[in-house]
């Protein structure tokens, strides 16, 4: 158990030293940034799925709301992080709060479908934002500035900001799950009736958890917009939500850090396969299916078994 706690740190340290070990080029850092940002989104989704038992198929929407907040503020000349970050995270949290207030009244398949529906509403809303590119998306004038500096333009700085926020997201979610609040969420995942019978209604706990995960998704969205300097409705598509869910399952939904592994594996495999062949998705799809069938407990489960 103690040894298992070191495994995610190994992954984070590896990401930390990678740019110093010859992986510091533009191509590699772009790839890693993408993996780390999706990892953040996946960790917050894993908090919902594995922690609270809320299987959302609309998590990309909160990422997209955060990304669009960057784009919309950019279009109006606001690029300062101290303004952009609170606005983006707040918008994503508010979106999750409003949609969650309805979605969390349902459970099981209904919850999956209703989060999917809200995600699609966000997708079509983004597509219709003609002032911000509509279907074509929106290219940022510049990356977000931090206190007037162009720190995020620096490749290495951006790499370590992503890494730091990924580590913070993971640590934050782990802390939440271990707390009193998280204990209620975990208990309600397994047995909501039991939680009620000790005098606690699961609903407000779940709603707050859903909102916090959405806020973290929004933060990932800010980074995603900055990484590509481009935002499009595809950011909030249900396919993206599915990919995030897939990263969680691939990494192992029972462990938060599994989502980081899942995102890394997903992005690297996707990129590598796309270089090998034209119809790479024909191989990628079955590989993912095989991984789900044969990797019980996901990649993190596999790693933990070998080291535990």
């Amino acid at each position: 158990m103690l040894r298992e706690a070191w495994l995610p740190l190994v992954v984070l340290v590896a990401l930390g030293v990678a740019p110093l070990l010859g992986f510091g080029g533009s191509y590699e850092t772009t790839l890693m940034a993408r993996a780390m940002i999706l990892g953040m989104a996946a960790v917050s989704l894993s908090f919902l799925v594995g922690g609270a038992g809320l299987v959302s198929l609309g998590h990309a929407a909160s990422v997209g709301v955060g990304a669009y907040a960057v784009a919309i503020l950019d279009a109006h000349g606001v690029t300062e992080a101290t303004l952009v970050l609170p606005a983006a995270i707040g918008a994503a949290a508010l979106f999750s709060l409003l949609t969650g207030a309805i979605a969390i009244r349902t459970s099981g398949v209904h919850f999956i479908m209703i989060t999917l529906a809200f995600g699609q509403m966000a997708f079509f809303t983004a597509s219709s934002l003609a002032a911000y590119g509509g279907d074509d998306g929106y290219t940022l004038y510049s990356r977000t500035e931090l206190l007037g500096t162009r720190l995020l333009e620096n490749r290495l700085a951006f790499h370590y900001i992503c890494l730091g926020l990924l580590a913070a997201s993971w640590g934050g979610c782990a802390m939440l799950l271990a707390s009193r609040f998280g204990r209620v969420l975990r208990a309600a995942r397994e047995n909501p009736q039991r939680v009620e019978a000790v005098g606690l209604a699961p609903y407000p706990f779940r709603l707050l958890g859903y909102m916090l995960a959405g806020a973290m998704g929004g933060l990932a969205g800010v980074l995603l917009a900055n990484a590509t300097e481009f935002v499009s409705p595809a950011t909030l598509s249900w396919q993206r939500s599915g990919e995030l869910l897939f990263m969680v399952i691939l990494g192992g939904a029972g462990r938060l850090w599994g989502a980081i592994l899942g995102a890394l594996a997903f992005v690297l495999l996707e990129t590598w396969l796309a270089q090998q062949m034209l119809h790479w998705k024909l191989v990628f799809g079955p590989l993912l299916v095989l991984a789900v069938i044969f990797l019980r407990g996901g990649l993190s489960g596999l790693v933990a078994r070998h080291h535990g």
Binding site: S179, R180, Q193, E196, V198, G199, L200
Partner: protein
């Protein structure tokens, strides 16, 4: 006579044309074990649902500790001091026995909207939870996942969880259901020990256990209480024999 802790006042619940509880009135006095017995289909489950807030009665009131709780949700009733156990054991299988009880303790002591400190390291929670576990004889099983406990141990764990909510009244829904003879013996001994400290409303099939434990018994038949009285009175009541006990003693 003491003010009743729980008073059911003419509870009625219809499903279509069927009156499942048909004007049930019943008092539970502080300190007593009041048992509700009745043949299958008598409406015991619906009655429990009405008392715990799972089902709202069409008519009538549930008064608990002087407060009308008829419209209270289950969690709110529990916070008011009305704890329950389930006919089908309901624990968090993936939590240890200790964490199961600590969840109930934290619901009772301070807010559960605390986000920073690991709940498992809160000594005050764990100590109170250990006391409840000790009370039901599970102290040495504290670290075992609840799902790995035996059936009888799970039943005892459920009691410990209920005790940890600091109840004023324990509603026990067939606590002996599914227990083997040995487990039954142990659970009855446990309930006998709890009897002195708690007010209990016991809904149970096992007649022997009911007669051994209860101070008073109410007999529910077709949604009505046909008799309430001491164990001796119920045993000798011709009406009860005809309606219910006759089945067993024939």
């Amino acid at each position: 006579m003491a003010e009743p802790l729980l008073r059911l006042d003419s509870l009625r619940k219809h499903y279509g044309g069927l009156a499942v509880t048909d004007g049930v009135s019943l008092d539970v006095l502080p300190g007593e074990i009041h048992a509700v017995i009745g043949p299958n289909g008598a409406g015991k489950t619906t009655l429990i649902h009405e008392i715990t807030g799972v089902v709202a009665p069409d008519e009538g009131r549930v008064v608990f500790a002087g407060q009308d709780v008829t419209r209270f949700s289950l969690p709110r009733r529990v916070r008011a001091g009305l704890a329950r156990t389930f006919q089908i054991t309901s624990v968090v299988a993936g939590f240890t026995a200790l964490a199961n009880v600590a969840l109930a303790v934290q619901a009772r002591s301070g807010s559960s909207f605390r986000f920073f400190r690991p709940a498992a390291t809160e000594r005050a929670l764990n100590e109170t939870a250990m006391q409840a576990l000790a009370e039901v004889g599970l102290a040495d099983r504290a670290g075992v996942p609840a799902g790995a406990l035996s059936h009888g141990e799970k039943r005892a764990l459920e009691l410990a969880i209920a005790l940890a909510t600091q109840p004023r009244l324990l509603l026990l829904d067939e606590p002996l259901a599914g227990a083997g003879p040995e487990e039954t013996e142990r659970l009855v001994a446990l309930l006998t020990r709890l009897k002195s400290a708690y007010t209990i409303l016991l809904v149970e099939h096992d007649m022997q256990a009911v007669f051994a434990l209860a101070d008073r018994v109410s007999v529910l038949v077709y949604g009505r209480v046909i008799a309430t009285g001491s164990v001796a009175e119920i045993r000798s009541s011709a009406k009860v024999r005809a309606a219910y006990l006759g089945e067993d003693e024939a």
